[in-house]
């Protein structure tokens, strides 16, 4: 049995979580999932400014902090912190923690190869809409293939203490130690599916140990001290989800089910680079406090294509807010929205979209929200998006004047100053035959 813990669910997650996983009980592997789709575009912009950037900057300081414990407890780390620049990430880790043996996994970055793929006849159509890639050509910022777990396992086999990957499937971070420790074969579909299923369950960190859970949240023990998830993996593909004793949160079958269904499509076909996992044969059993045993994972042959995540420049946007108070808070906020739209129109500004919502009334639940006759206050939130940066910039000047020239009771403007103009990054999923991608593993000392 191996214990694989996940200490980050995204870049920005709780900094103390991985430190606690290492310090508060036994684990064999620590995984750290830093990358969301949007993260890659942010990293691309950072690397354009400085070629030594483009990775999850939280990671090297964490390794510096943890290196003595990792060595002493013989815990190995598997992460996608490399982002767009695994080599620079590894150099920074080695600079801060020179005793670690670090391996990098690359081959996912294909931004420069889009033209080659098209020339070979791979259409890279939008995976959701079927639109041709020509729609965004010339605006592509980054393109990365989701790698599977086998190159990461190869890096572990090469003796790395720390495996730093670029873009790989989130679930590959956990599957890789299983492949390495148990020798799972590339066509052992049920076993690989078990690893992918466990990887999916822990990839969002504390969301499977009681965070963001509707299961009796009022009585959820000590979320301030929540324990992050640990998967106890067996060679036969059975596993248990648990957390360190004495930590906050809770692990029950109901909570794990919430995470199992999180951000998935068809539960019979959870697509990963190494296998198609089926969640509909799983059996989840509460097995003592904070421990769920999971059996019955099955899988089918891996997909012929890997998924590409392509980010592209999609124009500019800005979002501004204003608060209106009772009486008639909603009516006043709606009047303010009409004034802004009128003025934008008179200026002749063109936007792809203007979107208004009212926080405190309908922003989160729309018509599904309970009907109310009066609210004490409401925040009107107006967003614009378009291709013309100057039009978006002009919009950012149209909210403050409402304080003096709009309906009465306006306040709460200026807390964050004038709205900021932000670049919009669109994400484009596409499929590419897996033969086009050649992952590579390099060990650094």
């Amino acid at each position: 049995m191996i214990r694989v813990a996940n200490g980050q669910g995204f870049w920005g997650d709780w900094l103390e979580a991985p430190v606690r996983l290492v310090g508060q009980g036994p684990i064999d592997y620590l995984t750290l999932d830093y990358l969301a789709e949007v993260t890659m575009a942010v990293l691309e912009k950072q690397r354009q400014k400085n070629p030594e950037l483009g990775f999850a900057a939280d990671f090297p300081p964490l390794m510096e902090r943890l290196a003595p414990s990792l060595k002493q407890k013989r815990i190995r780390v598997v992460t996608n912190a490399g982002g767009l620049n695994p080599a620079a990430c590894a150099r920074e880790v080695l600079r801060r923690a020179p005793g670690l043996k670090v391996a990098i996994v690359t081959g996912d970055a294909v931004t420069a190869r889009i033209g080659e793929f098209l020339a070979k006849g791979h259409p890279l159509k939008n995976i959701d809409t079927g639109e041709p890639i020509a729609t965004i050509q010339g605006r592509i910022l980054s393109a990365n293939a989701y790698l599977g777990a086998f190159p990461l396992a190869q890096a572990l086999a090469a003796g790395a203490d720390v495996v730093i990957s670029g873009r790989c499937a989130d679930s590959a971070l956990l599957l890789a130690p299983c492949i390495h420790a148990f020798g799972w074969a590339a066509d052992a579909w049920d076993l690989l599916a078990a690893g992918v299923t466990a990887g999916h369950i822990v990839e969002c960190g504390a969301q499977t140990t009681g965070g963001n859970s509707q299961v009796d949240w009022r009585n959820m023990p000590d979320l301030a001290e929540i324990g992050y998830p640990i998967a106890e993996m067996n060679a036969d593909g059975t596993f248990a989800i648990t957390k360190h004793a004495g930590t906050g949160g809770r692990v029950t079958a109901d909570i794990v089910k919430e995470q199992l269904l999180y951000e998935i499509g068809d539960p019979r076909s959870y697509l990963a680079p190494d296998v198609v996992a089926d969640f509909t044969g799983l059996c989840l059993a509460d097995e003592g406090p904070d421990r769920v045993r999971i059996t019955g994972a099955t899988g089918r042959e891996r997909p012929a294509c890997l998924k590409l995540s392509i980010n592209y420049a999609a124009g500019w946007k800005a979002i501004g807010t204003m608060v209106y108070t009772a009486p008639d808070a909603i009516a006043k906020a709606q009047a303010a929205d009409r004034i802004v739209r009128h003025r934008l129109e008179k200026l002749g500004l063109r936007f792809d979209e203007i979107y208004t919502e009212y926080l405190g009334w309908n922003a989160c639940h729309g018509q599904a929200a309970p009907a109310v006759s009066e609210v004490p206050e409401v925040q009107v939130r107006i967003g614009v998006r378009g291709q013309d940066r100057s039009a978006v910039d002009r919009f950012t000047r149209e909210l403050a004047p409402l304080v003096l020239s709009g309906p009465p009771g306006a306040t709460g403007y200026g807390g964050e100053g004038r709205p900021k103009v932000r670049e919009v990054v669109g994400n484009w999923g596409a499929l590419l035959p897996r033969e086009e991608i050649r992952p590579s593993v390099e060990v650094l000392e």
Partner: protein, 105 residues
């Protein structure tokens, strides 16, 4: 008799591009058939029709006592394109808890 979905189930929602998914999980396994009967794709579409373009797909996972819904065109473009506060669809699951369904006495 009529009751809110929260009587029978809990939910979690998240984003996939411009789609939202909502997992709906029966508190008790014996209530799963009622979820299958009451919480149909078309009812979920109606429930959210002011904020999604649709369609809505439904998937069944009887082993989990759960349904999964995929709401297409649900986030105003999704990711950083969306102008919505709930640009990742986190609030959809909680909203659905108020759906009125017919339950056994």
């Amino acid at each position: 008799m009529k009751a809110q979905l929260s009587r029978l189930a809990h939910t979690r929602s998240g984003d996939k591009g411009d789609m939202v998914n909502i997992g709906v999980i029966a508190w008790r396994a014996e209530d799963y058939p009622a979820l299958v009967r009451e919480v149909t794709a078309s009812r979920v579409f109606e429930f959210f029709q002011d904020r999604i373009s649709g369609p809505v797909e439904r998937f069944e996972a009887p082993n989990l006592g759960a349904l999964n819904f995929l709401l297409h065109g649900a986030l105003g473009g999704g990711g950083t394109v969306s102008l919505r506060m709930d640009s990742q669809g986190k609030a959809f699951g909680a909203a659905l808890l108020r759906m009125e369904i017919e339950i056994d006495e």
